[in-house]
């Protein structure tokens, strides 16, 4: 097992003592198979216990350790040290307010996720005795990819449009709405469309595609948003040109 000395340049910010963020460099002896999260853990355990960052599973499932690594939104647990030079810069996720060091405030995203109603809204009430809702493999395939989202918010850190227009609902929330809209068991599309077919919804997207490039779970949010645009456009033409089709 080879070891390499890495200069880990970490953005630090303590709201109680600092007026603005600063960088602090740690010299970390990294094993070749380490990820950036291992290096941060080494710092916390051996060099500086005051360093704050979020992490939990260390296996790209919990979505907690999103940060900018050399300027790119990455999960620290999926960013292998051997892919970087001896200088690695670690910063909190772009487009989010910093709470402390690498910890960002995620309230905005959580509120947006909640407002698209990311849960099944059944078409009709069905007693438990009626059994489970049936779904075919083909019906499942229509949305399965979008269920893989782990809410890591890397897509928001990558989205230049979210950086410009903070009201934009953003890639993950709209993809999640699309996931439930595509579900054959769901009847809540009309409620979700009121939110995602608005100006601050899918129409703020200019299809840069950075969200899909940085997504660690290959959800392809940009693809989901394009599908939402097509469906919302068909809705618009139906509502305005064929009003008699209204329910």
């Amino acid at each position: 097992m080879s070891e390499r000395q890495i200069q880990l340049e970490v953005l630090r910010y303590n709201p109680e003592t600092d007026s603005e963020p600063r960088y602090q460099t740690y010299s970390v002896p990294c094993m070749n198979e380490w990820v950036v999260l291992d290096a941060l853990n080494y710092v916390k355990d051996n060099l500086d216990p005051t360093l704050s960052y979020r992490w939990s599973c260390h296996m790209a499932v919990c979505g907690s350790c999103g940060m900018m690594i050399n300027g790119e939104p990455k999960l620290a647990c999926k960013a292998f040290i051997h892919e970087y030079t001896d200088q690695v810069r670690v910063e909190p996720m772009a487009n989010f307010p910093i709470e402390r060091d690498l910890v960002t405030s995620v309230e905005d995203f959580i509120a947006k996720l909640a407002c698209v109603k990311p849960y099944l809204i059944p078409k009709s009430d069905q007693p438990v005795s009626a059994g489970a809702f049936q779904q075919s493999p083909a019906e499942l395939k229509k949305f399965k990819q979008y269920t893989l989202c782990i809410n890591c918010m890397l897509c928001y850190a990558a989205c230049p449009q979210y950086g410009l227009v903070p009201e934009f609902l953003g890639p993950a929330a709209i993809s999640m709405a699309h996931r439930y809209n595509q579900d054959s068991r769901d009847g809540g599309r009309d409620q979700r469309q009121e939110v995602i077919a608005s100006d601050e919804g899918v129409w703020e997207c200019s299809f840069v595609g950075a969200c899909s490039e940085v997504c660690p779970k290959h959800v392809d949010p940009a693809g989901a948003l394009q599908q939402v645009k097509v469906a919302s456009t068909l809705d618009w033409y139906k509502e305005h040109l064929m009003p008699w089709m209204k329910k």
Binding site: V195, D199, W203, S206, F207, K229, V230, T233, D235
Partner: protein
């Protein structure tokens, strides 16, 4: 939140993108071949004139030009925004006006054939 009216422009943009992706390269190739004087009888002035004089021909030509114009207009609007020009309303008015004028001229010229 009210539903957006952006689908008007985006619908034309999406349909135009599909049409231009398929038709424009073919048209460019045919025009190039004709310009090099390799034009079969089908592409002579008279044959094309007959095509453009028929109502179905007019409709096809109008559809392709309309969608290409509105696609290009919306594409330009988004590209200008991506280049950092933060005057979306003004840009939108200018590019859509150009597309509108182009649409109107196409209609006038087609009806005069």
């Amino acid at each position: 939140m009210a539903k957006s009216n952006k689908p008007i422009f985006w619908g034309l943009f999406a349909a135009g993108g599909t049409v231009t992706a398929f038709v424009t390269p073919a048209l460019a190739l045919v025009t190039l071949i004709a310009a090099m004087r390799y034009s079969p009888d089908m592409f002579t002035y008279d044959a094309i004139h007959v095509f453009a004089a028929h109502w179905l021909g007019k409709l096809v030509i109008f559809g392709i030009i309309l969608l290409s114009l509105w696609h290009a207009a919306h594409r330009t609007r988004v590209t200008v925004h991506d280049f950092g020009v933060r005057a979306d309303s003004l840009v939108a008015i200018v590019v859509y006006a150009l597309a509108g004028i182009g649409t109107l001229l196409t209609l006038v010229y087609l009806l005069r054939i």
